[in-house]
Symmetry: C2
Subunit: 106 residues, 2 copies
DNA sequence: GATATTGGTAAGTGTGTGCTAACATATGCC
DNA sequence: GGCATATGTTAGCACACACTTACCAATATC
């Protein structure tokens, strides 16, 4: 259910840029905003989306809001993609075997 | 670059439903459309998005267009998420070690 | 307490997008 | 050829959403 949020969150290019920047090092909103092509409020809104997706955490240092990557959302995302991957692989194996059987009927 | 498409494609609930249905078994457009809350053209449009994201393939059986899961998009998606995961883990290890050093200064 | 710094929030706007209905296209069968 | 079946495509519409500007809230510093 939260995978939905994570996928949608990372689907936006700006949000992915913010997230990728946070993967390198945690940063405040202002630090994130400079170097970005969008305004500070826009960054703030994106951070909110990333936060509700469980991809990012906030801690306060005085008046600054420092954001960092959060594992929780990543866990679900990884679990979902791994399941997709495993299922797809086994499905293809089944298909390959079926085709082999078709080629050598007996 | 195509990861962007895959993430955005799977971010939509309807498209995820279609994709999850295709993971169980390949199906034609009409088969996918019944049981879905949206019209057949809508399904067709979603399939186009999934196709350009490399998540789905089409083969024709007479007049029917049968869709099935495609590995290509899944490979990129998995690679991206794995990288996120690995980087996040090592970052947290570094942070933990740094905190340990801070606790025992010498 | 006044002022400055840092961020979140609200209102408004333009573009993207998911949907439907109507039409166009392609294959199969008579 | 003509009709039926199955699907893609187009036009139009409503809504979501990313963005900016203006404003509000909280903490730090004097």
């Amino acid at each position: 259910m939260s995978v939905e949020r994570a996928l949608q969150a990372l689907g936006d290019p700006t949000r992915r840029a913010i997230f990728d920047r946070l993967r390198k090092a945690s940063a405040s909103v202002g630090e994130l905003a400079e170097g970005m092509p969008v305004s500070r409020p826009a960054v703030s809104q994106h951070l909110k989306v990333l936060r509700t997706a469980g991809l990012v955490r906030e801690r306060r240092e005085g008046v600054r809001h420092v954001y960092q990557v959060e594992l929780r959302g990543l866990v679900e995302l990884r679990r979902y993609v791994d399941r997709l991957w495993g299922d797809a692989l086994s499905a293809f194996e089944r298909a390959a075997r079926a085709q082999d059987r078709a080629r050598e009927p007996k």
